[in-house]
């Protein structure tokens, strides 16, 4: 009964129909062409682009990092330079200050010495002048005194004493006027 279902007019399913084989070959060939010509190259291009994008991104990040490090090094170098510069300037200023102070002190001391020397010089000069004048005046006065003494005939001691006193008073009167 089952064998009657597998009737003689029904071909064995294991044997291909030529028509189906041919249609299968053509249809799949066309599909392959579409995939080979369009789909696969597009996917591959996309993947390459994606790889490039990712690698490019990584490379860019690395470049940025390197640049940042370079800038940092530069900055640090500049900072170190600035620090050194500052120290140098401070040292210079300090040295200059000390020098200025020393110079000022030396100058002041020189001035003092000079002023003192001039004072002494003036003092000496005025003393000399005084001495000279005194000497001259004392000479003159001595002569006057002597004349006066001689004019009074040298009477007595009291008279002589008064004469001397009067002479000295005269001298004292004259002195302030001379000083002015």
């Amino acid at each position: 009964m089952h064998s009657s279902i597998l009737a003689a007019e029904e071909p064995l399913p294991i044997l291909p129909l030529p028509g189906e084989l041919i249609v299968g070959l053509i249809a799949f060939a066309l599909l392959l062409f579409v995939l080979w010509k369009y789909a696969v190259p597009r996917f591959e291009a996309l993947y390459e682009q994606r790889v490039e994008e990712i690698e490019g991104g990584l490379k860019r990040a690395e470049e940025t990092k390197a640049e940042a490090e370079k800038l940092k090094a530069q900055y640090e170098e500049q900072m170190a330079g600035a620090r050194a510069e500052r120290a140098r300037i401070l040292d210079d200023a300090r040295a200059e200050g000390a020098q200025i102070k020393a110079e000022a002190r030396a100058e002041a001391e020189a001035e003092v010495a000079r002023i003192r020397a001039r004072g002494e010089e003036q003092l000496a000069a005025s003393r000399d002048a005084v001495v000279r004048q005194l000497r001259a005046e004392v000479g003159g006065l001595s002569v006057q005194l002597a004349e006066r003494l001689l004019g009074q005939a040298l009477a007595d001691d009291a008279k002589r004493s008064a004469t001397i006193d009067a002479f000295l008073d005269e001298l004292e009167r004259d002195a302030p006027a001379k000083a002015n």
Binding site: I5, P13, I14, F43
Partner: protein, 254 residues
């Protein structure tokens, strides 16, 4: 008593299930399905890849997923120069997958690959491709040597191995490739039809048999899910074996 009577009356579906009358000329339903599948797959890959973006959308993601399944298969099995073979592996996988799923998609409800002519046509492409790739790689004589004698075979059994290997690579591999998916689809479809026809029969058999009618239908639905798995696996295996055969033909590990 009724059971025996029913068994005598019930005609299980047979080979006739797989034979469709021509719609026009020689064109039958399986032929229309096959052409339709080629158009669908071609159109999806042609239109779906027009504007690919680095960051894929949902559709592109799905398409890339399918593409990657085929691409990884080719890469893992063929090795260094796998790229020229991507279209074949991708085409086999996607085309067989769609044709197989016609077996459980309403309206179609016939797995195209259960007609042996179609998987055989695909096997022809694989056959030509791996022999051509092997000859191109090793030269004709070099390829025959490469294909017939695996490395490390003791000399005294070498003649036997050579005969087996040559038969394997030139006859059995392509035939088994075509038969595998054909048989799986044929058997799966037959079981599905049997369950549905049986359920239908029980429904109209009269008597107490109606009570048993839901079971074949439930079985058919459960079997449909299993079939979906088998259909996917068969498409995958066909493409994978194609890549394996190409990989073996172009391998240099002697």
């Amino acid at each position: 008593m009724e059971l025996v009577w029913a068994a005598e009356e019930f005609e299980p579906p047979g080979v006739g299930t797989f034979i469709y009358p021509p719609i026009f000329g020689e064109v039958t339903k399986p032929v229309v399905q096959l052409v339709f599948a080629a158009i669908i797959v071609g159109a999806v890959f042609l239109l779906g890849t027009r504007k690919l973006s680095l960051v894929p959308g949902r559709g592109q993601f799905a398409l890339e997923y399918i593409y990657n399944v085929a691409r990884n298969m080719a890469r893992d099995q063929i090795g260094h120069d796998f790229k020229p073979f991507i279209p074949l592996v991708l085409g086999l996988f996607s085309f067989i997958l769609v044709n197989n799923f016609f077996g459980i998609i309403p309206v179609f409800q016939f797995p195209t690959m259960s007609r042996i002519g179609f998987p055989l046509a695909l096997a022809v492409f694989v056959y030509i491709t791996y022999h051509y790739a092997g000859i191109r790689k090793h030269g004709f004589v070099g390829y025959i040597k490469h294909a017939s004698l695996p490395p490390g075979v003791p000399p005294f059994i070498a003649p036997l191995i050579v005969i087996i290997e040559l038969f394997t690579k030139f006859v059995f591999q392509p035939i088994s490739l075509a038969l595998r998916v054909f048989a799986a689809m044929f058997a799966g479809h037959l079981v599905l039809v049997l369950a549905v026809v049986g359920g239908e029969f029980l429904l109209h058999a009269g008597g107490g048999l109606v009570v048993a009618a839901p079971f074949p239908f439930i079985g058919a639905i459960a079997f449909t899910f299993l079939e979906a798995l088998v259909m996917t696996i068969q498409a995958y295996v066909f493409a994978l074996l194609a890549a394996v055969y190409i990989g073996a033909a172009v391998s240099t590990d002697h």
